[in-house]
């Protein structure tokens, strides 16, 4: 992200309110990610980070607020919500690879069935994407034959296959063994370096320092602090943020 200019937001949410029953999960959240930017969202569990991601790609309805994607207000996309989601990639904490399909078919399914892409082309592209996430030889493996880190990388390839304008990562490494966290973060970093716009909900502070352009701290459904990465990890941060970072031993 170049300093001085104000790049148009790819995806943004304005004063998003979300309730589950009487529980207010998001209380007026503002979020915005610019093209090629990597925004890392951190915060204690239950702070509403994951819900925020699910609201942004319309998996969860919101009570009030506005969501804008590529300049279009998608808040009330309604029956067209699936079209919006085709352009927003999402990676889940528990991978959620389709258990009945090989790695290759996990990646190729949506292009074939959703975009109507020809099966041969889609599989060729899927193979290329598996190579991109460093799994060229796992095309025929089923999810239950892969390690967590491998599954998550297939999940990233699956999302990339739809050629999304932005990637949303929902705690992508929280369910992984420590040994495999690195390989997933590396792929995410490579994508970000290539200019992929992304919002990453994570507890990996090392990743935030290395890769993020901006970091946002959420607590109890509100954004408490957001700043460019160098400022965020600087000395002059609100006490609540410092305490949170301190607990994480940064």
């Amino acid at each position: 992200m170049t300093a001085g200019t104000e790049p148009a937001a790819v995806l943004s949410g304005t004063s998003i309110h979300k309730q589950f029953g009487s529980l207010a999960v998001l209380r007026g959240v503002d979020i915005s990610v610019a093209r090629s930017e990597c925004l890392v969202v951190i915060g204690p569990s239950g702070s509403g980070k994951s819900t925020l991601l699910r609201c942004l790609n319309l998996l969860e309805p919101i009570q009030s607020g506005r969501i804008v994607f590529e300049g279009k207000d998608i808040t009330n996309a309604g029956r067209e919500a699936h079209r919006v989601r085709q352009r927003i990639g999402m990676v889940f904490q528990n991978f959620e690879l389709f258990q009945h399909l090989s790695a290759l078919d996990n990646v190729a399914l949506a292009p074939i069935r959703v975009l109507g892409e020809d099966a041969r082309t889609a599989r060729e592209r899927a193979r290329a994407l598996l190579t991109k996430v460093h799994l060229p030889d796992k095309a025929d493996s089923y999810p239950d034959e892969l390690s967590g880190g491998q599954q998550q990388r297939v999940a990233i390839a699956r999302a990339l296959a739809m050629e999304p304008a932005v990637m949303l990562y929902d705690e992508p490494t929280s369910a992984l063994d420590p040994e495999t966290v690195g390989e997933v973060l590396q792929v995410m970093q490579e994508l970000s370096d290539e200019g992929m716009t992304s919002i990453v909900v994570t507890h990996e502070m090392g990743f935030a320092r290395r890769v993020a352009d901006r970091v946002m701290f959420m607590d109890q459904g509100e954004v408490r602090y957001a700043a460019p990465t160098s400022d965020f990890f600087g000395s002059d941060v609100p006490e609540r943020v410092a305490r949170f970072l301190g607990r994480l031993d940064v």
Binding site: Q86, M90, H100, V114
Partner: protein, 243 residues
Amino acid sequence: MIMPLDAPDLILQYLTSARFFQAALMTMLISLASLFWGMVAGLVIALLQESRFVALRSVAVAYLWLFRGTPVLFQLIFVFNVLPTFGIILSGFACAVLALALNEGAYMAEIMRSGIRAVGRGQRSAARALGMREWQVMRWIVLPQAMRIVIPPIGNQFIGMLKLSALVSVIAVEELLLVANQTASANFRYLEALTAAGIYYLGMTTVFMSVQRGIENALRRRGRRGSLTQSMLGATADAGRVR
């Protein structure tokens, strides 16, 4: 009672007779056809049950209430004797399959539904996040996984159906029990005729139990799917046993 000396010969003669063989074939055919249409009915009912619309869910509830709330023997006799008064005249075979399939559908719906429910919400979220419409999520993600889960309980249903099909002897379909009964009533050799029929039944159920076991083992080899299968077996093994 003393067993007649020629009993083994007569049993063997029945077992190898064209009439008994055809009757066993009929039993098999009725069971397969009823199971197939029962699966279709069950899937439709299960999808109705999972629908967002109250009206559709009510249809499913009414169906289950009707077909689980009356004896299958009653349903058979009803279809056979009442439909003709409305000008719908079906063969005995068609009546048998219609009644058994409608009845089976009510039980199959429960199995299908538990299979659909066993596919986690996360799988649906992932599919929706890729831009699939609801029907595409169902078609490409949920149903293929649900079908693997329901194979073992459906195997149980098939074995149940083989035995249930004996009921259609009351509407004069030439299946195994009717043929055995008719044969015996001509010469009062019930022991021999019923033994022959019993051997056919046992043979058929044994073959299918081993087929089922083979399928289950194949599924178990696929790791997580196997454990899902196991948990589903526990949940649905007794579904549809009591009629």
